[in-house]
């Protein structure tokens, strides 16, 4: 089979089970590489290497395009209503299954820093679950959600619609550091 190169992102297709499994692994790998490089970019900027920071940021974006391509072939991109449902399902799993289990292990092993990282994430996923649920209901009536800023705590990921609180209720970071979307 020759290798097709076309200037459109790859499309969904019926996949053999082995190909599907490995493509899922590749999506996981690209996603983690992208996130690692974003963290490394921030570190390079802190180390006084702005051009290396830019390289990491650009390559993180390249990995995002690969993650998107793999997800597309896997049929993981639906209508926005479907995507909201998928997102809601993912957040629900993290809140009810994943993080409680991980926190129990970290508590057993006295891993206080790991517990902090888990607590920050779980608290934010609760915000996300509620936001996705409310939004899905709006979309089912064919409407967009209301316009307005969304703000995210740069430390713990706490997510609010509208103005930032004076202090993050999860980690105590001052609201002035919240990133606005």
């Amino acid at each position: 089979m020759s290798e097709p190169f076309m200037n459109t992102p790859p499309k969904p297709e019926k996949l053999g089970a082995m190909t599907e499994g490995y493509l899922k692994d590749a999506f996981a790998g690209e996603s983690q590489a992208s996130q690692k490089y974003l963290a490394f970019s921030a570190k390079a900027a802190a180390d006084g290497l702005p051009n290396v920071a830019r390289l990491f940021e650009a390559v993180a974006y390249a990995e995002s395009t690969h993650a998107r391509n793999h997800l597309s072939v896997l049929g993981g991109i639906g209508s926005t209503a479907d995507n909201l449902q998928a997102a809601f399902g993912g957040e629900t799993f993290e809140i009810t299954e994943m993080y409680p289990a991980y926190d129990a292990v970290a508590a057993l092993q006295g891993a206080t820093e790991a517990r902090t990282s888990i607590r920050y994430a779980k608290a934010a996923e609760q915000d996300h679950q509620a936001l996705y649920e409310a939004t899905r209901e709006t979309v089912e009536t064919g409407k967009d959600m209301a316009a307005g800023a969304i703000r995210v705590c740069p430390i713990c990921g706490h997510t609010v619609i509208g103005g930032a609180p004076e202090e993050c209720p999860v980690c105590g970071t001052s609201g002035q550091y919240f990133r606005e979307f």
């Binding site: 996949l15 990491f56 969304i150």
Partner: protein, 183 residues
């Protein structure tokens, strides 16, 4: 930004028992995939005519990025830049030398053309990334930054180029206007 404020609030790198380490690794994988998925969902929401939902997906993607960073930091995965470049180089090498060649053979055997295309796009870009990280690491070890030049990325296939953008992407043939510049 107020680095000292951040330093105190962020979870710190810690000695972890294997089971906790494994949990955090899995959580890092989960957060990373959620962050990427939500970016794609944001694009789809724009296309579907829901700009406010697109904003929601982008904001929550950023929140997941914070969680991924926190988990990675706690596992001791963020080090000085020369070491981070080495880690990045090794990751790209694994993908180029092991992962994608094996995955591509499977996709070929199963005649999954789109999967093969998606993997080939990625593998070709990782070859460039590997070289760029290797060069940057040599410089960082001497205490030097790399040259101050834009880095551009093909938004179809991820082809990455330092300096001038080609007229046509050498991997997927997309035109120059499909490159996103980081300058």
């Amino acid at each position: 930004m107020a680095d000292d404020v951040f330093e105190k609030k962020l979870p710190a790198p810690a000695e972890l028992n294997p089971m906790t380490d494994e949990s955090l690794r899995a959580a890092f994988a989960g957060e990373s995939q959620a962050a990427e998925k939500y970016l794609v969902f944001a694009e789809q929401a724009e296309e579907d005519g829901f700009p406010n939902i697109a904003r929601l997906f982008r904001a929550i993607s950023f929140a997941e990025t914070r969680h991924a960073r926190n988990h990675l930091r706690t596992m001791g995965g963020i080090n000085r830049t020369a070491d981070n470049l080495q880690t990045a180089y090794e990751g790209e090498s694994f993908e180029v030398d092991e992962m994608y060649p094996a995955y591509r053979e499977i996709a070929r055997t199963q005649k999954n053309r789109e999967a093969l295309r998606s993997m080939s796009y990625a593998m070709k870009a990782e070859v460039d990334h590997k070289r760029m990280y290797s060069d940057a690491r040599e410089r960082a070890l001497k205490g030097d930054d790399i040259a101050d030049q834009p880095v551009s990325v093909c938004l179809i296939c991820g082809h990455t180029v330092i300096g001038d953008v080609p007229d046509k992407c050498p991997v997927c043939a997309a035109g120059a206007k499909y490159y996103r510049a980081f300058d």
